[in-house]
């Protein structure tokens, strides 16, 4: 997993960030959800975004693959401006794995079909190749025995791991996680976090919006605290979590830790 896949001209030696957000604003009507965000994830880095609900952290993540339309600002994926009309957004998206809070598995398809649909439809892989890759990623999330099950018959934790496997089957350059454990029963959270941790250790570039402070501290390389549509504080997870500088960060952490 490298950042060398873009063909954009750049200074030799200067690595291109996997995700770079500059001056991002997002309004819903008169409500300003994001008020000028600068944000970056380098290749191979795990960046966790925390903050109270309504802080704009999920909106920021959804802007990164343009599920939300930014009002203004710049979003570069591996150096490519995804708001540029000439950019093939679908191609960019196929390189960004996304995991949703509500899993969003396709309920009418078996687990295996969930994993092969986009491989076949977007990557144009042969059926055999798609199935083989699907089985590899299913094994990775520990669900090899569930390939013919339907999503409705799986627990929330299993569904979320299938969702991760579905994203991984596309061999993405990076992964976005939108509160991946928030909809899970507490006893199922661990399995999903374990899969994410393993991914991080393999060097996957990850942006994780989460309430799991333990995960952020242990696995994250960088921590961003957002509140009221701005980045209030960021830094090494241990520093931010143990010695928050800003009063809003302190107040938030005192409530969740």
């Amino acid at each position: 997993m490298t950042a060398e896949q873009t063909s954009l001209p750049r200074e030799p030696g200067a690595p291109v960030p996997a995700i770079q957000v500059r001056g991002l604003h997002k309004h819903y009507g008169r409500h300003e959800v994001l008020q000028g965000i600068d944000f970056q994830v380098d290749a191979g880095q795990v960046v966790c975004v925390i903050g109270p609900s309504g802080s704009g952290k999920s909106t920021l993540l959804r802007c990164v693959n343009r599920l939300e339309e930014p009002t203004s600002g710049e979003i570069l994926i591996e150096g490519i401006d995804i708001c540029d009309r000439r950019t093939d957004l679908d191609d960019i998206r196929s390189r960004i794995g996304m995991v949703f809070q509500q899993f969003n598995l396709f309920p009418h398809l078996s687990v295996l079909k969930n994993l092969t649909l986009a491989q076949r439809n977007v990557r144009r892989r042969s059926k055999d190749e798609a199935v083989e890759i699907a089985r590899q990623t299913l094994a990775k999330v520990g669900l090899s025995d569930k390939e013919s099950a339907y999503p409705a018959h799986l627990s929330g934790g299993q569904q979320q791991r299938v969702a991760i496997a579905r994203a991984l089957s596309m061999n993405p350059d990076m992964m976005l996680f939108d509160e991946p454990t928030s909809a899970l029963d507490p006893e199922l959270v661990g399995d999903v976090l374990a899969v994410m941790k393993e991914l991080a250790q393999e060097g996957m570039t990850m942006m994780v919006v989460t309430h799991e402070m333990g995960f952020a501290r242990e696995v994250g390389d960088h921590l961003v605290f957002m509140d009221g549509g701005v980045v209030v504080e960021e830094g090494r997870p241990a520093d931010v979590l143990s010695h928050p500088q800003h009063e809003r960060t302190q107040s938030f952490l005192s409530k969740v830790l």
Binding site: N65, L67, D90, D91, R93, S94, R95, I96, M98, F100, Q102, N104, L105, F106, P107, H108, L117, A118, N121, V122, A152, A163, R166, A167, M170
Partner: protein, 268 residues
């Protein structure tokens, strides 16, 4: 008298009135005349009565015409539903205008127009003669109704499904065909089955346009037996047609009820 005793008494009285009413009607009625007029032995005879034509011509054609109207209506309805949800505004306007127009008209008016108006105005006769013209009319109207059903089904598919497909890089068309529509169709199976039952009954309108002997649907065959055949001058053939309609519609309405119960139980 306690309240419970009074309730029991009222029930007894209600049953008594019912029984007395039925007995009186049964005694007063002229059974031989009723039988001759509504269940004429010559008409209901298996060997040489009305059944053969009613079934091999009427029922078979009714099912065939219903299938054609349903298939055509479904294709048209899907097109209109997708137009109504299109990001291109003129498509939405066109589809909305079409749906409002054809849902507001009696099916018969559209059918007669296709059979008579079109040939006069454009010198063009729809294929299949009068039956074909009538079926095109039915398709035009059924498409408008099915469009609304399908649109509701498409909109009932959670937005997260589209987001998941798009986030994997799937294009809008593939997302619709592979992810949204399969789920939408599952949601609309009960209302679409209802639409099918309505169409079975609407094919009876073809009788008013007229058809060659072997193209007649069930109502036309029954109507012709009113004035010719073994039970001429009696309503026997209409009773027989009614029975044949119920033979197909009742299982279908039961099926809809069962599907709806199952869907209500199904948890997402």
């Amino acid at each position: 008298m306690t309240r419970r005793q009074r309730a029991a008494l009222i029930q007894v009285v209600l049953y008594a009135v019912l029984v007395v009413g039925i007995v009186v009607l049964a005694l007063v009625a002229d059974w031989p005349t009723i039988r001759d007029n509504f269940w004429n032995p010559d008409g209901v005879s298996w060997a040489d009565g009305n059944w053969q034509d009613l079934i091999t011509i009427g029922l078979v054609n009714t099912v065939k015409y219903t299938a054609i109207a349903f298939g055509g209506g479904l294709a048209l309805g899907l097109l209109l539903a997708l137009m109504r949800l299109s990001p291109v505004a003129p498509y939405r306007w066109l589809a909305t205008a079409y749906i409002e127009f054809f849902r507001g008209l009696p099916a018969l008016v559209v059918m007669v127009f296709m059979a008579t108006g079109l040939p006069i105005a454009f010198g063009w006769t729809p294929p299949g003669g009068l039956v074909g013209a009538g079926l095109i009319g039915l398709i035009l109207v059924a498409g408008a109704y099915m469009a609304e059903t399908l649109r509701a089904g498409i909109q009932a598919v959670p937005k997260g499904q589209t987001e998941a497909a798009r986030s994997l890089g799937m294009r809008p068309g593939a997302t619709t065909v592979r992810v949204v529509l399969p789920q939408a169709f599952r949601i609309v199976i009960p209302p679409l089955t209802n639409e099918f039952v309505l169409l079975i009954k609407d094919t009876a309108l073809l009788f008013l346009l007229g058809a060659a002997a072997d193209q007649r649907e069930l109502t036309s065959v029954a109507r012709d037996f009113l004035s010719s055949g073994p039970s001429t001058g009696t309503a026997t053939s209409l009773i027989q047609a009614a029975i044949l309609y119920l033979v197909i519609t009742l299982p279908l309405t039961q099926l809809v009820a069962w599907l709806e119960r199952r869907q209500r139980r199904a948890v997402r």
